[in-house]
Amino acid sequence: MRKYYLFIGLVLLGLSVQAQKANPKIQFNGVARGDMSHNWLSSDDTVNADQSLGGAALVDLHLDIRPNDAVRIGTTLRVKNAIGGFWGQGASLELREISIKGVAAKRIKYRFGDIDSRMTPYTLWNNSGECANNEADVFRFIREIRHQENFNYRNYWRNQGADLAWRLGFDKGMESIDFTTFAMRNRSLDDGKTPDRMQAGGNMQFNITNHSNIGLNYINLFDLPKTVSKTYYEKYSNGVGTSNFNFLLGHTTAFGEFGFSTINYVDTSDTKTVNTKGNFFELGLLHLIRQSFLVQASFRRVNPNFFSAGAQSKRINYTSDVNVLPVVGTNSYNRTISLLDLITDDAIYNQAISYGLMDYEMIFNNVTPYGKATPNRQGFDVHLIYVGDSTFTTEIEVQALQDVAGQGSEKKKNYLLAQWSGDVYFDKIFGWSKSVSLTAGYQFASASRDEDRVYKMSKDLVKPVDLHSHTIDLGTSVEVLNRVDVLLGTKILLYKGTDYKAILNGFNETVKYKCETYDGSQMLTAAGLRYRFNDNISLTMQYDRFTLKDKIDDGNSYKINQAFLLFNILF
């Protein structure tokens, strides 16, 4: 036993010495980026102001400060100046983030400040943006900049608060239990009328073996009424509690999650006016075949009243105004968010957890606009991934879903969401020295519902639901000279049909259904030339052309051209 303790002590000492060498007290990392872009409408638009030009140069300097081995302070300072602002005009010095994290008493991990957190797809999860299914490199690296700007790192939400984590280990029965608890502030207007809003919760994960675990999760978005004067006391809360598990059975993993949600609201006269309860479950199996194929099949059912602010908030705010050339078309209307904006516009991205279901664009994805936690869905999800070798990868996912309860009708909508993606690396296949790759992605989304009822007045048939969309991504990257790549890509969205969008009040109750009919297409094509200084530094010149065709009203059609230069240094 003595020798055993001695061995552990020596190992820890060795790790400690190694760490001291590797990590200086302050480490600088960050991003420096300069861009200039020119946007213009096509020459046949003679109605709208049709040009814009802008750009900026910035440095995000991230400091990783380690005053000692148990504490790390991280902060990012941004220095930015706009192109066209001379001698400091249009310049800004901002604090992008600041946080501290460490280990207390060698047992408890803590973090405080700007922190990234996530739990499960039904509790706290930042779903990926729409139309990003394996898009071409020429678009992907531009979208990544949006993610950086908005702290969208994988499926984490950036919040401001604190969290703690610790673990209990066991000798028998199970390996360990992981605990995490957190509290974040969601809103604080300090206007005396609107109470502060917090989000807090925790997770307990029972690690039975390395591959099997059971988790208990709870998260609640709630108001603090006492932060306002008594006249304005009101309290909203949205609580979600779930339990999830993973069990390895031979080569197969069984997984699942189930839980409930509540929305409660007490108004300023202390009357409980809202009390909504929902539930969901998901059960599935995952199997690895011959180390190459990953197959996953699951069934889920999400009740129409299941609301989880942390999982259903969207990365894009579809009520935002677009930044570039907002007024277009012979109808001179304010254009809505398009494929171009999803990739290039920072202003439409959302960083906050929203207490109500956010608006979404039906033509992008009317099947799972809120990810897996989309309420009022039930059905099967089958996912197949090929991860065999480095020459190509492919995966396909099909979700066949149906309403749990009819929406404004006794009949239920049927949904189908099919996504396929594939990458081919020709250089690895043929042994070329220069990299050549092809990426492709396809998404089919549809909602359908026959209808046999008629409108009371006109006696016309109520329009059936038949909205479907195809999103095609195709791109290639060809290294023509040493470190110089030609990037080509296209993104096509075709959509047609009718669907009904629920218009909700602040408690996600449907007050009406708005019938929307679409028939059109969007196409974004790009060609770029990129010089890679290394894997993290590149200079890109790119030309994009975006076309939106509205077959129902051609006055809404428009074309935007965009040329830009981007120099990005990640260090």
């Binding site: 820890l12 790790l15 400690s16 760490a19 990590n23 480490q27 600088f28 990392n29 980026r33 300069g34 020459s43 109605v47 709208n48 102001a49 040009q51 802008g54 750009g55 140069a57 910035l58 081995d69 148990a70 220095v79 192109i83 066209g84 602002g85 001379f86 005009q89 310049a91 994290k101 280990v103 060698k106 047992r107 991990k109 973090r111 990234d116 957190s117 996530r118 499960t120 797809p121 690296f141 990544e144 984590a165 610790w166 280990g169 000798d171 957190f182 988790g215 999830n244 993973n246 993993t253 998901e282 995952l286 996953q296 991934i385 990868t393 890679r532 200084f533 530094i537 120099f567 260090f571």
Partner: protein, 620 residues
């Protein structure tokens, strides 16, 4: 039980070994085991090695500036007062930090900060911080047949050619005044340099225009070619806050040079384009194309020149105008007079419009061109120094440098005439007290008791209307400058005397030398500046300055604004200074100046006062 406790204690070891970096912060296991490799060029930098090639330099400039304006015009101006400040009206900064980082050997970025405390007693609330030059990103791409070096961001300084993108280089300058951009000098180092080489240490901005955007230089090309490409905004693309306006207003251009030895031949282009206010607007602005060259011949001689053609589209009328330009300098290094002799010939059509070039574009009025260039620049017939050439002119000037036993003489004389008689006013600078006056009234147009004065950056000029019924033909100009430099020792320490003087006139007849008589001229302007510098010790130099200027307008031809009499102005200044090296890279500068100005024909045009500054500058 004991065993359980022992193992339980073991399990309470740190969750993560103290020395390991944190990983998966707050990450919880997904309920679904599906995953995708997150392929991207720009992943999060957590876990990456830190930046090592990173430096901060800068300077500290602590200043106390005092000014007492005893008299100012008609006594109603609020500036007629005493002022105590921590800056002299120039760039407001006490601490300037330049941050340069080099992530790789071929890429770097830099930015600057300034920090300034006005020390008005209100505490830190009034302290300021910001950027001056801003963020610049540099990159270099190296190939066997080309090297490309580029900078993206701003501010940055660059140039193409004199008729495309350039900044005026005014050779004659007083050394007495302090500049915010002055680099460290040991005591009298700059004066020695000026005496010995004819230049003062100037920084990278000299002759370069500043812009924001992309500047790429391509060199080491085959066949001796080199090139530069610019796509950037200058201050004439919508002003210094043009980022607020999304309508494109941008400049682009470049050059290609073919080098052969020290000589070259090149083509240049520069275009400043914007759109008028109409929806689906019309393209307006100016487009310039030139050819330039530099050729040595007969071993001693060199000819360097540029010929160009420009098109200008007016934003209001969409009228197009075209104009030609020529600028050629012949140099004899020694053969003709035993010392350098330069002959400069030029012609700038009034329609050759380029606000970013190395000459003063002719301005008919303060309206400028498409809203740019009007304010703060001399308007009409501008009487300027030899090196400061103006548009709507053709002329020539001669400059020679001679050395007479240590007395270095730089003489220049030039004459020119309007190409088209368009001027209805004459403008001239007030050099002697220009920097001081520009501090008092920053960037103002047509101010003063006779609405004749316009202040610019560190200068101001006066505009007097011409009697257009009396002046009906081309206006001619003549100017002579002489710059004398002498050095001798006192007590084995160098003593420098510098004299800079000039005399210019404008009149109806072409004259090789300036006209001295009133009846033959419309306006005569002369400046005299005498400076002495004595290096008292290795660490100390004392400075003295005397300046005098005189402007004389002629009756019947010119008058001060608002119907006043033609000017008869005298401007004087006496200054004393001290340069002291306190420590390595740390200097103390003291400057004092008594100044006086009056117009004997127009009572209200006068001012008098004193200014002084104490400047502590340290570099790091």
């Amino acid at each position: 039980m004991k065993r359980f406790l022992q193992l339980f204690c073991l399990s309470l070891l740190p969750i993560i070994a103290q020395a390991e970096p944190f990983a998966g912060d707050g990450e919880f296991r997904d309920t679904s085991a599906t995953h995708r490799q997150h392929k991207n060029l720009l992943g999060k930098y957590n876990g990456k090695q830190g930046l090592t090639n990173f430096g901060v330099t800068g300077n500290y400039r602590g200043m106390v500036y005092y000014r007492n304006m005893d008299e100012l015009f008609d006594g109603t101006y609020s500036q007629e007062k005493m002022l105590l400040s921590t800056n002299d009206g120039g760039r407001q900064s006490q601490l300037e930090l330049d941050v340069v980082a080099r992530p790789t050997s071929t890429t770097s970025f830099r930015t600057d900060f300034y920090l300034y405390s006005p020390m008005r007693g209100a505490g830190y609330n009034e302290n300021e911080t910001g950027l001056q030059m801003g963020v610049n990103l540099d990159g270099q791409m190296n190939y066997d047949n080309a090297k490309i070096s580029f900078r993206l961001g701003g501010l940055q300084y660059t140039r193409l050619s004199k008729l495309t993108l350039w900044a005026s280089e005014n050779e004659g300058e007083s050394l007495f005044e302090r500049n915010t951009w002055d680099y460290f000098q040991t005591a009298a180092q700059n004066y020695e340099s000026y005496y010995a080489q004819g230049t003062i240490i100037r920084d990278f901005r000299w002759g370069n225009q500043f812009c924001q955007g992309l500047v790429a230089s391509i060199y080491d090309l085959p066949w001796g070619l080199e090139s530069r490409v610019i796509y950037a905004k200058t201050p004439n693309n919508g002003g210094q806050s043009s980022y607020l306006d999304t309508i494109p207003n941008i400049s682009y251009g470049g050059f290609i040079h073919k080098k052969f030895g020290q000589n070259y031949f090149g083509v240049n282009t520069f275009n400043s384009v914007s759109y008028d206010s109409v929806v689906n607007g019309n393209c307006i602005g100016y487009n310039i194309a030139t050819v330039d060259f530099s050729l040595d011949f007969l071993s001693d001689f060199n000819v360097k020149g540029e010929f160009g053609y420009g098109r200008y589209v007016d934003g209001e009328t969409l009228e197009k105008s075209f104009g030609e330009a020529m600028d050629v300098v012949f140099l004899s290094r020694q053969k003709l007079i035993g010392s350098p002799l330069k002959l400069h010939v030029y012609r700038l059509s009034p329609s050759f419009i380029n606000l970013d070039a190395g000459f003063n574009t002719y301005l008919k009025s303060t309206a400028g061109y498409n809203g740019e260039g009007g304010s703060s620049y001399p308007v009409g017939a501008n009487m300027s120094d030899v090196d400061y050439i103006n548009g709507n002119r053709q002329g020539l000037d001669l400059r020679a440098e001679m050395n007479f036993s240590g007395l270095k003489v730089n003489l220049a004389t030039g004459f020119s005439e309007e190409i088209d008689h368009q001027s209805t006013s004459v403008s001239f600078g007030h050099r002697i007290n220009g920097i001081m006056f520009a501090r008092v009234f920053a960037y103002q147009n047509y101010m003063g008791p006779y609405s004749a004065l316009t202040t610019n950056y560190r200068s101001y000029y006066e505009t007097n209307p011409l009697d257009t019924t009396a002046i009906t033909s081309k206006i001619r100009f003549a100017v002579t400058e002489w710059n004398l430099k002498y050095k001798f020792n006192i007590a084995n320490r160098p003593f420098y005397i510098f004299y800079l003087g000039s005399y210019s006139s404008c009149q109806d007849q072409l004259a090789v030398l300036p006209v001295l008589k009133m009846e033959k001229s419309y306006m005569r302007v002369q400046y005299h500046e005498l400076e002495t510098y004595y290096k008292l010790s290795e660490k100390m130099a004392v400075d003295a300055y005397f300046g005098l200027e005189n402007m004389k307008g002629s009756y019947g031809y010119t008058y001060a604004q608002n119907g006043a009499a033609p000017v008869l102005e005298f401007g004087k200044a006496i200054g004393l200074g001290l340069d002291f090296v306190l420590a390595p890279l740390t200097n103390l500068y003291v400057r004092t100046r008594w100044f006086d100005f009056e117009d004997k024909h127009n009572d209200m045009s006068h001012y008098r006062g004193f200014e002084g500054s104490l400047e502590l500058k340290a570099f790091f």
